[in-house]
Symmetry: C2
Subunit: 342 residues, 2 copies
Amino acid sequence: MTEKNKTTIYDVAKMAGVSKQTVSRVLNNRQDVSSETRTRVKKIMDELSYHPSAIAQSLSRQKSYLFGVVTAGLRFIGPSRTLSGITSKAEELGYGLLLKELASFSSNNVKPLLQWFKSHQVDGIIWAAPEIEDNRYWLKDLMPDLDIPVLFLTMEENNQVTIVTTDNLGGARVATEHLIRQGRKHIGHIAGPLEWWEARQRKLGWETALKEAGMQVSEQMWTLGNWSPKSGRSAFLELLAKYPEMDAVFVGNDQMALSVLLSSQEIGKRIPQDLSVVGFDGIPDSEFYCPPLTTLYQNQDELGRVAVAELASQIEHKINDNIIVEPKYITIQPELIIRQSS
Amino acid sequence: MTEKNKTTIYDVAKMAGVSKQTVSRVLNNRQDVSSETRTRVKKIMDELSYHPSAIAQSLSRQKSYLFGVVTAGLRFIGPSRTLSGITSKAEELGYGLLLKELASFSSNNVKPLLQWFKSHQVDGIIWAAPEIEDNRYWLKDLMPDLDIPVLFLTMEENNQVTIVTTDNLGGARVATEHLIRQGRKHIGHIAGPLEWWEARQRKLGWETALKEAGMQVSEQMWTLGNWSPKSGRSAFLELLAKYPEMDAVFVGNDQMALSVLLSSQEIGKRIPQDLSVVGFDGIPDSEFYCPPLTTLYQNQDELGRVAVAELASQIEHKINDNIIVEPKYITIQPELIIRQSS
DNA sequence: GTGAAAGCGCTAACAC
DNA sequence: GTGTTAGCGCTTTCAC
């Protein structure tokens, strides 16, 4: 860390009067080094403040201790929480992260991206961008050729790859059942954009709960938003117009729910007396909406952590036992947080 | 991308009947290759679906086209927006990102972190974690030894390093002046934790504006929060108790302002009639608070983009002209967004 | 226990 | 224009 020409393993070897290999052995904590040689070499390393070149090690070992991470929409709170979980767990396990953010959610050319990761020798890839439209089309085309383990977040079960996801459908059911238990008879839904798998799942969970309770589901009972607060407002007004008897609404995410609360107040609907509202996500602010929002908290940090742990474990297995782990489908249950909006 | 044993430059050379160097030349778009050789080699590359190993290139070139990024608090919206700006600009400029998130804001052992980046041959480092307490202590100790350009975000001017930051002081002044112009006479402040440089700057901006307007500033006129909505509530109640005549408040960030709005409503203070409120950050939700919040929008995405652009430019200069660029202090002005809370 | 030689996949410097 | 020879900094045989 001092000289311009950084010290290499060779410098250490020369100073210690041993060969590079011996230094390498010390570096990797091999047992076949006499303890006196080891201490001497270590001392020299300290003196020279020597640190091995990770890049040379990667090239030589054909292993980088790096994961590739693909994310999208970092400007939103969800993806960044997931990324936070990924970074913390990776740090714990001694892996570094090579990060790429997709310019748009509907990723088109994934091939160069995978190639880039591959050329950097990443040990595994975490695909943390949401499933939208057909942006998983490449899975069956490109995956077979790619000899790097890939783990996906937030997508439909698929027997080819390991997936870690929040149980969106289950969560939506819990939300809707909660409203039903409260005695609500006309429960509407504001969905996220249905190109998103998550939005479809949440809508499906709402439908399922209603049907199981013997209640009708019809087109007039739901509308479409695009996750944003602004869209929540118009979606809500539209929904209210076509479903005036609505006395409760399950909203696809907290941000849209926020403007449902606001809009209700404007038009004189009291919450929760006239209208019960439940959101999804459990973003921190939701506790401070007026009124505080009942919502399904999804632990995205944990999502990221589980993903990294699982990927690391698969890689260890592959190296140590040469076992290729079967694809898994791991779901994380969101948690209903009941507040004053319901 | 097909065979298990990936194809190397050597395979291409053999098939094309040329030497590795020629292939390398084609790879790097050198001019000293006959166009027929070039096309032939390119064709072979395609057929073999050959892609160079970035890691081998890095080792050989002593340049990785990678930036190290240090962030903290990704679970908050601010840092992740900045990161988003960083990723998008890096992508544009052809740089990859090696990401590390500090476990806590008050980073302690930065030395191993810098060492890790260095061992991965990053071309530059962007330090995007906020300045808190003395967590810049290492700057003068470690920087001289580190022969990698480092660019800092969000910190006090310093003639040793390049810094890109939002003008927190200026923004706070603008906010306060806005309240003064509205005829408010008793303008309080809820500060963020003063270990944070940003919090201190915002408080200073508030003080400066008041003094310039010939108004008094005293201890009873401000309190402390910790950025969170929860803390905003108690800080607000405390402040109101010791400064009952307060008719306006500049709040250190939007999240705390959110619960100021809520708490005011609870105690029957009308906004903006009885109390004007201005926040800082301009998070998307602030438009949908009740009432919508006047705030200073800081473009954190742009912050990240500027940082990457500047760092890349410094590196280019260093390589091409061997000029070491003078440290710069680049500030980005936040923008006052006037809404109904003031 | 330790060292010599070869190799990871590529580029730089120099020859022809 | 193109090939040869040395590396980049480390690990992995395989001797001794």
